[in-house]
């Protein structure tokens, strides 16, 4: 995403698209593609299928933009489309799982970072395994995408208290796992 595009807020981009500037949609695609791809990988565990999934999600969002009532933010609305599409397709793909860490980074992570990351992923995976699959995705949205409880509720329809309790347990497990490792 260019610096100029990064300066364009979601609202401004939406206004431009609704006024007929089709190219402005690429700003939103670039801004949210990582999140949608990650959800896609969680559902399908396959790079090509995840890309097809993400493409369909963006096209569905584009087709529904004129009817987007702005009762939630665009990112929450888009995540809801992706979540519903993924849940509907889950019978074909099996259980939702977080994406393994396979980074192409400018620098190599330190052994300490690598350890922390794998511990966090293991904890997240274990926490998800203990949950019904509709709820498992909540942890990914919280930990990987930094979404707030209210936004996750708006995207998935799962009550805030349920999300809170799963997140609380996952954080406690992560802390205990790190403490045990250190001891």
């Amino acid at each position: 995403m260019s610096r100029r595009d990064a300066d364009v807020g979601d609202e401004e981009a939406l206004e431009r698209i609704l006024a007929g500037d089709v190219d402005a949609f690429s700003i939103l695609v670039r801004r949210y593609q990582a999140r949608i791809l990650r959800l896609g990988y969680g559902f399908f565990k396959d790079a090509d299928e995840a890309q097809d999934f993400a493409q369909d999600v963006f096209l569905k969002a584009y087709a529904g933009l004129a009817g987007f009532g702005r009762r939630s933010s665009f990112s929450t609305w888009l995540t809801r489309i992706a979540y519903n599409a993924g849940i509907n397709a889950r019978r074909k793909a099996g259980r939702y799982e977080p994406l393994d860490y396979d980074p192409v980074d400018d620098r190599l992570p330190s052994p300490e970072e690598e350890h922390l990351r794998s511990e966090a992923l293991l904890t997240l995976r274990a926490a998800m395994a203990a949950l019904p699959e509709r709820q498992a995705v909540c942890l990914d949205l919280y930990f990987r995408d930094g979404m707030k409880y209210a936004d996750i509720r708006a995207a998935t329809g799962i009550p805030v208290n349920t999300i809170k309790s799963h997140v609380f347990r996952a954080k406690r497990d992560l802390r205990l796992a790190l403490d045990v490792e250190e001891a």
């Binding site: 593609q33 990650r38 192409v104």
Partner: protein
């Protein structure tokens, strides 16, 4: 580990964002063990945010190439608003015979102007209806097919 540490860790687990309230910050500043736990947990969480290589694909060209084949995302007036506006127009027309100007015109010209007035109003309603139907052909067509499928 003190009771305060237990409380600190329990509250740390229940925070929604990474922002620490001032009393927790104070405790962490004075407790080496809790500060170390805080740093490790936050460090681990931050590392989860790194986008994996598989998510670094740029979908914008791929999606952009398909947009010309999609229905336009241009803003359009919702059907509900169309119907409300139509009802408002019809309601307003029903009030025309009760206007003071209408009575004045009738007193001056008798009933001769009622037919042209009716024609003008009728043409306005017809034009509105035509624009409404033309603007919602896709929607009517979809509803027609869905209704047909349900009956079958």
């Amino acid at each position: 580990m003190t009771m305060e540490c237990d409380l600190f860790l329990a509250r740390l687990d229940s925070l929604e964002t990474g922002r620490l309230p001032s009393d927790l910050e104070e405790h962490a500043a004075g407790c080496v063990s809790c500060a170390r736990t805080l740093a490790r947990v936050e460090g681990a969480r931050r590392l989860l945010d790194v986008s994996p290589a598989a998510c670094l694909v740029d979908l914008a060209p791929r999606v952009g190439a398909l947009l010309p084949f999609m229905p336009s995302a241009r803003r359009r007036v919702q059907m509900r608003d169309w119907l409300l506006a139509g009802a408002l127009i019809l309601g307003s027309m029903a009030f025309v015979p009760f206007l003071a100007d209408f009575s004045t015109l009738r007193a001056a010209y008798g009933n001769r102007f009622v037919v042209p007035l009716g024609l003008v109003l009728g043409m306005a309603v017809t034009a509105y209806g035509a624009v409404f139907i033309a603007g919602h052909l896709d929607e009517f067509s979809k509803r027609w097919h869905v209704g047909g499928a349900v009956h079958r």
